[in-house]
Symmetry: C2
Subunit: 106 residues, 2 copies
Amino acid sequence: MAKKIALFSEGKFNDKGLGKLLVHDSPYFRIINFNLKAGQAMPLHHHDVDGQLSVTVLEGTGAFLGADGAELPAAAGDILVADIAEPHGFRAETDMRVLVTIAPPL
Amino acid sequence: MAKKIALFSEGKFNDKGLGKLLVHDSPYFRIINFNLKAGQAMPLHHHDVDGQLSVTVLEGTGAFLGADGAELPAAAGDILVADIAEPHGFRAETDMRVLVTIAPPL
């Protein structure tokens, strides 16, 4: 089942909200590419389930969002790992592409 | 437990073999950053276990390797998803940083 996806050409931006490309979904993990125009954000949220997620910045700069207003600078090559049950989010300062991996999928 | 890792500064290259940074290891997934000097490779291999993996190119160019000598061009923003039981590997044409996620970990 090996498959390759070229995120920089297949992942689209959207002026009206986050661009979202479902890269892969299986019992093992779900992989989603989000593309944010400068100023867009995935607001802080969480789910009360087991599991963890990673957020990898592929391009651009912004911030990872955490509980109690915490923000960490986010740039290409930065990865955040968190429990799904922890508050998490991200926002873009420039156009930004991120890859989110959720294991196991919700 | 949220944690951030800056792969472009923490992930090192090594003239004698692949640079390897264990980013995260949990019952949910293992995340490893491999840094390959031009010409280095992760040779084709597989493990006879359930689960899947993703290989995301963060920087540089090279190729994803598959069964029967198959090669797919690999550049920043490209992701390969495969069963762990399928032959998989990658090689670098320029210095290349990749992020491998394995779910569940072996």
